[in-house]
Amino acid sequence: MTPKPAPQGQEPLYETIARVLRHNIVSGRLPEGLVLVEGPIAKLMQTSRAPVQASLRMLNAEGLIHRFRGRGYLVGRASRGPAPIRRPLDDFDFDIPAASQSALAVRGTWLRVYDRVEAEIAACQIFGEFRVIETELANHLGVSRTVARDVLSRLNERGLIRKGAASNWLAGPLTARTLQEKFELRSIMEPAALRLAADFIDYGQIARVLAQINTGQTKDAAELEDALMRFCLGRAPNAALIEVITNNRLLLSAMDKALSDLGLPVDTVALDQYGALFQLIGARQINAATAFLQEHLRILSYKSLARLKIVALIPESESLPKYLSKV
């Protein structure tokens, strides 16, 4: 995939990271055969692992790095068959260009606040429609209006807010129609991602998830939904698809969290269904697993719709942040 021609401050984080890695590989700072795994890179760039994963997949597609029998990637083309070199990145003259550094730093400031705002804005939508007030948001976060605006445009990209007729930012309401649409999207995209990911899943990891389920260590369905995303769907070699899936899940996860905060008991049926799903994936029965995932999502959609109805009886939380105002 080709990076969009966007100013560095607003390009997706994984593109900034890919740019830095590309610079270090092309300039010869990182030798052929060096093993790249996401953890140390994320630490060096002070980001989370997900964008590093995405950037490594990009470089792999570009042919600058390649997969090998071990974990992670090797620098260079597979055809040359270099021997793996396992050494920390600090051993090399790893360089982060100034422009990228400031992009990463800006990320740092607003990444810190972003997650909180995202959670708050996603959670409020079950209570109806809200206006998001930019100046109040900046005050609330103690940041400049520029940063507040960055946060808002990111929320807009991820589909959590939209521009109203008067050019103001609006969030919600999460209606049954929105919910059904999101589940419909899930049942189109997630089985497709699972199919694409089949060859890239770490089956040892799946065995560990299954062991945790069987020994009763997994306590709620959200944990397994997360594991499905990280260890299965997220392995699909299509960063764009994974991004759409992730964004599509945002509101649904926020709703689940809000309902569980209200005291929704553990859904043991859903737990069992995830157990069965991981069994199928673990056995590499990918066709059966995708069919099962689709059916599981259908039932989940139905149950979520019913559970959302209780929210009608609950007054809007008094703890809603000040930058949200009821429409």
């Binding site: 109806g128 309401p173 209606t175 049954a176 929704l264 039932i299 149950k303």
Partner: protein, 419 residues
């Protein structure tokens, strides 16, 4: 009506924990949470006598009842409300399935509840027909494919319409009525709606569709756009002074009639027999578009097991034994095993309430007051005629969260109007 908690609560119970054996001297206690539709003092006393246990009723309004049944399931053993409340209570994991093999009268329960209509040719009605929420499917959801386990034991039910003043709408008889009257210009300033969103919104929607203002693709499951249109219409009418207000309890509805402040409003049995001098002036309609129906039942709390669960099954079975159904009949409600009820009613009572016959003598209500005068005939006729004309069931529709919030804003705006 019935009082709240008369005897001391048992020691604190925890989910999944076995109950301690009851103290030797004390009778066993069954806690029932529900609404005043089925939680009648007469029913409670009779059940206590027949079952040899203490029964504690907790009577709540409709909204509070479904909310607390879902959120606070350890505080009751039996939950009595309606099938349309199950989307909220069942999927919140508060209840456990009922094994129909343990329900002695299961075979005698009528097809309205078990199959969806009194015959296979009857239209089920829009919305939450009880059969659509009755059977527990293997995946834990509720559906209409028959299964051995059910979510709620079907008990009392009825078909509702609205009440109207025949001095305004004429004397052509209740059968000439239309839901359109509920938003009729002739009654401007003297219209009231029930506060409860799962009911009031449908009264208004039936009226708006009957008078041609709006059409709904599926009135039992409105879209966001349809809800917006309905609420906009109601707001316009409110600003034009159509509504005198809303009511929360049947007693409030009856007071408005006795004070001659309404000409047409949401209303149901047994209010028609509590109107004093207005009885005979304010009538129960038989709308040509059909009825808005509801179906009650009783469910088991999830935490029940062992002896407590057995006691709860005894209570469920008692509901279908007949005496409870007779009390329900005297306030105008039907029971699912009608034949079992028949032997506990006088022939005159059976004839009036179930057969649609002219009352051959005065008939008493559950509390002993006369509620039907000799010579009256039940509007709409016999059971089969009335339940054969269901347009819609009380429903907690998909967009309930959206609709209920819009409805609540409308009701609040009604309240601010000086009356």
């Amino acid at each position: 009506m019935s009082g709240i908690s008369a005897s001391p609560r048992p020691a604190l119970r925890l989910a999944g924990q076995k109950l301690a054996a009851p103290a030797q001297a004390r009778r066993r206690v069954l806690h029932v949470r529900g609404t005043d539709v089925t939680l009648l003092e007469e029913v409670r006393k009779l059940a206590e006598a027949d079952l040899g246990i203490d029964i504690v009723y907790e009577t709540l309004d409709f909204l509070t009842c479904q909310y607390r049944a879902a959120m606070d399931p350890l505080a009751y053993d039996i939950y009595e409300q309606c099938f349309h409340n199950l989307d909220i209570v069942w999927y919140w994991g508060a209840l456990q399935p009922i094994d129909t093999a343990r329900i002695r009268q299961w075979e005698n329960i009528g097809d309205l509840s078990k199959a969806g209509g009194i015959s296979k040719y009857t239209w089920q009605g829009h919305g939450d027909a009880p059969v659509r929420k009755l059977y527990v499917q293997p995946d834990g959801t509720l559906g209409q494919q028959p299964m051995p386990m059910i979510s709620m034991l079907p008990t009392a039910h009825n078909v509702d319409s609205f009440g109207y003043d025949r001095r305004l709408f004429g004397d052509e008889g209740p059968e000439g009525a239309s839901w359109a009257w509920l938003l009729d210009r002739r009654a401007r300033g003297r219209i009231a709606l029930v506060d409860e969103p799962a009911i009031g919104i449908f009264d208004a929607a039936l009226a708006a569709e009957a008078n041609g203002d709006l059409t709904f693709q599926d009135i039992g499951n409105m879209t966001v756009d349809e809800i917006d249109s309905l609420m906009a219409l109601l707001e316009t009418l409110r600003q034009q002074g159509f509504f005198v207000g809303s009511w929360l309890t049947p007693a409030q509805a009856e007071t408005m009639i006795r004070n001659d402040r309404v000409s047409v409003q949401s209303m149901w049995s047994p209010s028609y027999s509590n109107l004093g001098a207005m009885q005979g002036v304010f009538c129960e309609s038989v709308p040509r578009e059909g009825y808005r129906a509801w179906h009650g039942g009783a469910s088991l709390a999830r935490h029940l097991d062992g002896a407590k669960l057995d006691m709860a099954y005894d209570y469920l079975n008692w509901w279908l034994a007949g005496p409870a159904g007779a009390i329900m009949a005297r306030q105008g409600h039907y029971m699912t095993n009608a034949e079992g009820v028949r032997e506990y009613l006088s022939p005159e009572e059976w004839g009036y309430w179930y057969e649609g016959d002219i009352a051959l003598c005065d008939l008493k209500g559950p509390d002993g007051r006369i509620v039907v005068r000799a010579g009256q005939r039940r509007p709409g006729g016999a059971y089969r005629e009335r339940v054969g004309r269901i347009a819609l069931w009380n429903t907690v529709m998909d967009e309930y969260n959206y609709a209920a919030r819009a409805w609540t804003r409308f009701i609040a705006a009604l309240g601010t109007r000086p009356s």
